[in-house]
Structure formats: C-alpha cells, structure tokens
C-alpha cells in the first residue's frame, strides 16, 4: 500500500498523546488575534496545518492531497462540514500549495480519503473538541450539554459562534488522534451523493485548468526532445528559426533543447522548424523480443510475497500439474490534456504552477535540479487534465524552470505537445508472470506457485527529464516518507485463496526498458490479471463453477458476502466454463474476477459479459456488473463515478493499449497509433455499492481497475475455450489463440 509515515522524529514522538488542555487552547486563541500575519504552519501534526476559521466563520481546508479528476475536494468538504456541523458552503478548500498545505505525500494509491481524508477528519474532530471546551468555559455550560449546529455552539439558551471563538486565529493544537469523531448514525452530509462543486464551471468554460493559467509578462516555451531516448545533441542550427514571428530564443543545456517565444503559436512554429542533429542511439530492446528481454534482465533480488506450506514439494509430488505464462504490455498515461507548467524566478525565488500530483516532492526535485535552497522554491497546484499516476506534469515543470532561468527568470509556460506526452511521459513497466499449480488425484489444488518479473522499488521521485538531459543534479533527494509496499509492482502478487501450499515470488529486476512510473493500480492490475485468470484455469481444470471455486477457497466472510451479492446481481448461473453448445461466428461469454486490494482493503468482484467474433478476433465488452465494498462511503455517486471510470479505462487498456517503439524511441506518438476506447466501444456498467458506515473508508480510485483484464479473459475462455494471456487482447492475438487451440 502507498501509505506513508512521516519519519521525522518529533512527529513520531508526539503522535497519539496530543490531548490539549482548554487553558492552552484559550491562551493560544487569545494570542492569535494579534498574530494573524504569522506564517501559516504546514505541519501535518497540527490542526492549523489542515484547517482555519476566519473572522466570518468561513472554514478553509488545506489539503496536501489534490483533485486529479476524482472529485476529492467535494468529499473532503463533506467530511469537514460533517465533523464541524457546518453547511457545505461555509467550507472552502486549498490544495497542493507547498506554502499552505501539509506534505501528505503524493496523491496516489487510493489513499486520499482513506488516509489523507481521515487525517483531515481527525484535525476537524480535534478542532470541534477544542471549540466545545472553550465554549463550555465561556458559556458556563458543561460540554455534555452543548449543542453544535451551523457553526454555533449553544447551551442553556446562550450561543457562541466558531468565529467568535477562534475567528481569524489559529488553534495551536496538535491533532488529537483520540478526539472523538461523530457517530456515523448522526451523519447528515457524509454518505450523501452531494453534487460535485466543480462541474458547473467545467461544463460552461469558466473553470481554470492549469492549461488556462496565465501570469503577466508570461512567455511561451516548447521543448524539442531527442530523436532517440539516449541521444546526444550534436548541433543546433539557430538560423533555422529566424523569422518565426514571436520567436525569442533557443535554449540549449547539454542535451536539453527548447525554444521560447512571445506567443504560443510562435513557440510551436519555432519548435517545429528548429534544425538539430542528434547522435544515434539504439538502447531499447527489440519489440518482437520484449518478453525474452524481460525474462533475461538481471535480477537484483527475490522478494517472497507469500509462503504457505511447502509448495515445491507439493508441486513435485502432484500427479497433475498446470502452468501458464501471462504478460502485460507497457502503457502510457494518456491524459487528454498534455502536461503543462508555468515557472518564474524572481530574485532567486522560483515559483512553479503545475498539475503535479506531488507538489511537495516536485519542490524538492526543482530545488535539487536548480541547486537552490528548498525555501527558495514554491510550488502551487492547479487542476489539470485527468491524472492517473506520475505523468509528465513534473517534467514540464522542470522544462519551464530551465527555460525561465534562460530568460532571466521571466515567467515561461511550457505546454507539452501530444507527441511529447505520448513519447516522453513515464510508462508502466512490462510485466511477465509465470504460474504453476499442482492437482492431486481427487482434483484438489494442492500447490500454487508464481513468479513475477517486475522492476524494483518505484515509488521514489521519477527523475525530471530536464535534469537528466541537461546533466544537472541527479543527487538522491531525501523523502520524509517510507512506504508500506516499497516494491509497488509486487502488490497483489500473493493471492486471497487458501490453497494448502503457496509460494509467490517477485524477481526484482535491475532495470526496465523505459523510464517508468505508476499508472492507475500499478502491480495490482498486472498481478491480479495473472492470478485471477489462473484461478479460472484451475476452476476449468477441476470442472467447477468459477464463482463456486473461488468461494470454496476463500476464508474471508466479507469477501464471500461480496461474491454472493455479485452472483445475485449478475444472475449467475452455476456451471463450469467454457460454455457448451456454442454455434456461430459471434459467441458470447461471461467471466468473473475478484480482488481484495493490496490483500488488505477494498473488495471488488465483477462479471464481464462479452462477445467475440471468431472470424475477426474482435472482443466486444457488452456489460460489466460490479459489486464494490470500500467500507464507509463518503459520496456514493463519487465512488460510482470512480468505478465506472476504472472499468472503462481498464477495458481500454485491456483491449487496445500498448506502446509501440523501435530500438531508439517510442513510435506511438498520437491517438492513431495509441488508440483508446471510443464511445461506440464502451460497455454498460452496473454497480452495486456496499455501504458500511461504521467501517473505515477505503480507497476507490483504483481497486475496480484490477479485475477488468481477468474478467474479460475469463469471459473469452467461457465463450471459446481459448485463454488470452497477453494484454492487450488485440484481434491478432485472439486469432492466434484460436488458431493455437
């Protein structure tokens, strides 16, 4: 899991014992009125890090987790409005500003509500408790006899408002992990499908995305990337851009090349016309032999992710054995709006506006690259196009920093073109999985073994392209976090099933062909694909109904309940796959898949209904039926929106997506060569949400993605008796699988 824990000692020291007495709070509040000019704290253990109440009683949330297109601000607003008993319009939100918001780690891993939001809930609960205690003192009424409503605390007929208690000041309180939160049975806002706060402006063109951001005197930059990933810049013919209207400068630092112009179109024209020569470089593997390359890549170490019984002995003693190899292609983020950033440098102080999912981390990276103190860098978040992981925003910020510096610090806006995004954003790594199982004489599965070929680590800062090309600081940047699953691509390599002998091993590879990062559900997506297909292979081998087979090996009541509800939702007819009596060229099938995300949280089960044309090899996904349990729901419609997005985006990744490349560079540089799912291809999605108001809220931004490839593959098997073990399931691969059968 992408949880992080601050390693700063003072935080660890204070965590958990933060009950603050009323007198201290009162003194702090009194002192505060005079100290409003004081710099706002961004400490993640302070109430003031996350919340303020101004003189009018307006509450502001300061969140280090940002909206990547998920509607997070609406959900966080609900959480705080609920804890403080305020109407939604009395709560506003500031996100991802390194001068104002705590460093809660990157916005990733489906933990923005689960961890980030719960931190903010606890800050609000601490604030509520302190406000009640101060009010009790002021009103002369015990806290147990106070009523809190609409930002007013009332007791014995007298009232005092939040604004009167702390308005304009600070709390000066550590977050109290024991401060009582509201009983979910009293919720009025949490658990409701509150309408997203941002959609009216987005639907009418008033919303300002990062791409719309302008500052006075701003110039426009474009980058000119090497023709081959590792190529050296040999020469630049600056005369080639003479006469381009608005053109100002060619900026060259090492292998970094860019242009700056007064107008955006001028910058685009200059970047297209600039003549440069690059050295030859052919460091990528041959695409046709990618999987041999992955298999023979140096292994740094092995990580055993689960080990039950003695799988080696059980397997070698098994009368019957089954094995299979699965692979999952390298893919791109593919945000509809390419990365964009603006940087200015004023008297040594660098200001960066970007849609980075990790502004605090970007701040450290920019400080290192520009060789300036951390205090001299300020990063602000502005929402961009949908972000599904570490894409190119940080790199665009690095580009803008170099171009701004070359222009004497003037603000420069860098907008990546489509080819920059498709060609140079960090990719998901190619993943290869070997699986083996042993079956005894009675048909029982007695051993499960798997090996995952995945790159090591991967949650640290992805090097900025500008820094790499310009040969600038590559020094490691100390991060104030540690990660619960540092080797993220190994997540969900272990299985939720209870076979008597299990051994799952990840081979942590020393390298992977492309600069890589996490793209929605990293590791869990690829590994669940292999695991849930192979479970289906075992069910078919045993002649068992695939849903029954899973239930028979599941010792998890919550998971079993989910599968039972899925069976009802999908009107699941018990029978083994493949189906019998199939006729015709176009055949329908159904496939099931199940996941417990990170084997620790959100449960998802799904049934895919597909049709496959055996003449063309085309797979068409007709319908997905999904049951989803992420504990307490903050905003049910927001969760449903995320599930729909997960399913549709991952159907796209499963059926279509694979980057193309030659030995030098990515060659799929636009939507014609890297197609994604279009409207006519989109399946229907039926969702049943399980709400558990008294449980913790878990993540919903990724888990439903994980079950998609396996549900489709299992459905194709149900239709044709043919296994698809290589994502994407292109028509060519489907035809080859039919042929090979």
């Amino acid at each position: 899991m992408l949880d992080f824990v601050s390693t700063r000692r003072e935080v660890l020291k204070t965590g958990g014992q933060l009950l603050v007495s009323f007198t201290l709070a009162e003194r702090a509040c009194a002192a505060l009125a005079q100290s409003s000019a004081r710099k706002k704290t961004v400490a993640s253990d302070e109430v003031d890090g996350f919340l303020s109440i101004d003189a009018d009683g307006q509450v502001t949330i300061y969140t280090g987790k940002v909206d990547l297109g998920t509607g997070l601000p609406t959900a966080l607003t609900q959480i705080v409005a609920e804890e403080l008993d305020l109407p939604l319009d009395r709560v506003k939100l500031i996100q991802g500003d390194t001068a104002l918001t705590p460093d809660q780690g990157p916005t990733w891993g489906s933990i923005s509500i689960q961890i980030g939001g719960m931190r903010i809930r606890q800050a609000a609960a601490t604030a509520r408790k302190a406000l009640a205690e101060i009010a009790a003192e002021r009103l002369g009424v015990p806290t147990t006899e106070l009523r809190i409503e609409n930002g007013m605390i009332t007791g014995h007929g007298r009232s005092v408002s939040y604004a009167e208690l702390v308005g304009g000041g600070t709390f000066s309180l550590k977050i109290d992990n024991n401060a009582p939160t509201k009983n979910p049975s009293t919720y009025s806002v949490v658990g409701k499908s509150v309408a997203r706060l941002d959609i009216p402006e987005k639907a009418t063109g008033r919303f300002s995305y990062m791409h719309d951001f302008r500052v006075p005197g701003m110039l426009h930059g474009r980058v000119v990337r090497p023709l081959a990933i590792g190529a050296r810049l040999e020469s630049v013919d600056e005369s080639s851009v003479n006469g381009v209207p608005g053109f100002l400068k060619v900026v060259r630092e090492g292998n970094f090349l860019g242009v700056v112009a007064t107008t955006e179109w001028g910058a685009i024209q200059a970047s297209r016309k600039l003549r440069a020569t690059w050295s030859d470089w052919k460091g990528l593997p041959e695409r046709a032999h990618l999987w041999e390359h992955v298999r023979t890549t140096k292994i740094n170490s092995d990580l055993v992710t689960s080990n039950v019984g003695d799988s080696g002995r059980a397997l070698s003693g098994s009368p019957k054995r089954i094995s299979a190899t699965y692979d999952f292609a390298t893919q791109t983020h593919g945000s509809i709006g390419p990365s964009c950033a603006v940087v200015k440098i004023d008297e040594g102080r660098l200001t960066c506006w970007s849609a980075s999912q990790a502004t605090h981390r970007l701040r450290r990276q920019l400080a290192a690259m520009m060789d300036v103190p951390l205090d001299a860098v300020h990063c602000l978040y502005i929402e961009g196009s949908g972000c599904y992981g570490r894409n190119g925003h940080e790199d665009a910020a690095g580009d803008a920093a170099l171009l701004s510096r070359a222009m004497g610090g003037r603000p420069v806006r860098v907008q990546w073109m489509r080819a920059d995004e498709h060609g140079w954003d960090p990719k998901s790594p190619p993943v290869l999985v070997d699986l083996r199982a042993g079956v005894d004489e009675e048909g029982k599965i007695i051993a499960w073994e798997s090996e995952f070929f995945v790159p090591e680590e991967g949650l640290g800062p992805v090097p900025l392209i500008a820094a790499t090309l310009a040969g600038m600081s590559a020094q490691p940047i100390t991060e104030p976090y540690r990660y619960n699953i540092p080797n993220i691509m190994t997540a969900n390599s272990a299985i939720p099933y209870t076979f008597p002998n299990i051994r799952t091993v990840a081979h942590l590879l020393a390298e992977t062909p492309f600069r890589w990062s996490w793209i929605r559900s990293p590791g869990r997506l690829q590994n669940t694909f292999a695991n849930e297909c192979f479970v289906d292979e075992l069910a078919a081998f045993a002649g068992a109904d695939p849903l029954d087979f899973r239930l028979g090996h599941l010792n998890d009541p919550r998971g079993a309940e989910l599968l039972a509800r899925l069976a009802a939702l999908a009107k699941w007819e018990k029978r083994p796959s493949p189906r019998k009596g199939v006729k015709g060229d176009v055949v329908t099938g159904r496939g099931i898949s199940y996941v417990k995300f990170d084997l620790a949280r959100t449960y998802v089960g799904a049934v895919a209904e597909i049709e496959v044309d055996r003449r063309t090899g085309e797979v068409r996904v007709e319908r997905f039926l999904v049951v989803h349990d992420c504990g307490q729901l903050i905003n049910p419609d927001g969760v449903a929106n995320q599930i729909e997005g997960n399913i549709i985006q991952t159907v796209s990744r499963t059926l279509k997506e694979e980057i193309l490349f030659d030995r030098s560079a990515v060659t799929s540089l636009h939507w014609a060569t890297y197609p994604i799912l279009t409207f006519p291809e989109v399946p229907e999605v039926i969702i049943e949400l399980i709400d558990r108001p008294n449980e913790k809220p878990w993540g919903a931004g990724e888990p439903a993605a994980t079950i998609v490839p396996s549900a489709i593959s299992n459905a194709v098997f149900d239709a044709l008796g043919v296994r698809l073990r290589s994502v994407p399931f292109t028509p060519a691969k489907v035809l080859a699988a039919i042929e090979g059968n």
Binding site: T204, F207, T263, I336, N641, Q642, W671
Partner: protein, 155 residues
C-alpha cells in the same frame, strides 16, 4: 507582420492582432481572446477537446486555420451558457454529474449540442456515433451518454 483579423465569437464582433495568419483558430480563441472552453488536447484533430461550433457545425479548432473562419459565426462553450444560466445541454451534464476531470467536456457538449440541434431524440447508438471522435480518458462515457439523453428529454 501583425495583421488584424475580425471574428464573430459568441455573438460579438471582435478584432484580434496576430503575427501569423496561419495560426489555428484554437490559439486565437485561447491566447488572444482568453477563452477557456476550447481546450488543447492533441493539435491533430484526433481527440475533440478543442471543438467549437462554426455556423452551428462542430469543428476541431486546433486544425482550423484562422483564414477559414472569416464571416462565420463561432460559438464556444462559453457562448452556450454560464454557471448561472447553463444551456439545456450544460444543465444536463451538471445534473448527470457527467465529469471526472472534465477536460474533455468542451468537445462533448459542443458535439452534443450540434447533434440535438438536428436530431431531437437521438438513440443511444446515434449519440455514440456523434461523439465517436471525442476521447475521454477518465471513462465518463456512460454519464455523458445519459446527459445527452436527459438534454433531449428536457428539450
């Protein structure tokens, strides 16, 4: 040489200065007129984020030369409505919560508006076909289809 170009945008006659008359309409709208509805997505006419209505027909402004829009009526997302007074299609998108990041919404609403102007009660396949050239990466398609259906019902 800077030249003046006259445009009819959202019902207003405007004159802009450009130093290259070959500039695509998208940049004139975004950079000269500071409109935020039309969005840059690919610059290749492949994704639809930049769509505007030109005499009522949806076009990709990223590949429409400024020279080709003289004497034509250009309508952008802003020209359809505002948060205070959204158009029926915009209102339907709001009612259906048909957005995740919302970056593609411009193209969706522009194309849906053009569709509904001609086809009062489109079927789902007709809606899908009308929006087939508009890409959405977040996977909001189903809500967008529902929004177009709702707009048709409310018309």
């Amino acid at each position: 040489m800077p030249t003046s170009v006259s445009l009819d945008v959202n019902g207003r006659a405007v004159t802009i200065e450009v130093d290259d008359s070959g500039v695509p309409l998208l940049y004139a709208l975004r950079d000269n007129l500071e409109l935020k509805g039309p969005r840059f997505g690919c610059g290749l006419g492949q994704c639809g984020a930049c769509a505007v209505l030109l005499d009522g027909e949806p076009v990709f402004s990223c590949e429409t030369p400024l020279a080709k829009v003289a004497n034509k009526k250009i309508v952008t997302l802003e020209g359809l409505g505002s948060p205070e007074q959204p158009s029926p299609v915009q209102q339907a998108f709001i009612d259906e919560q048909a957005a995740q990041c919302g970056y593609c919404l411009n193209g969706m609403i522009i194309h849906a508006t053009a569709l509904l102007a001609k086809t009062k009660s489109p079927t789902v396949p007709q809606i899908k076909k009308a929006l087939a050239d508009n890409l959405c990466r977040c996977g909001t398609h189903l809500r967008i289809i529902r929004a177009v259906q709702r707009a048709a019902r409310n018309a």
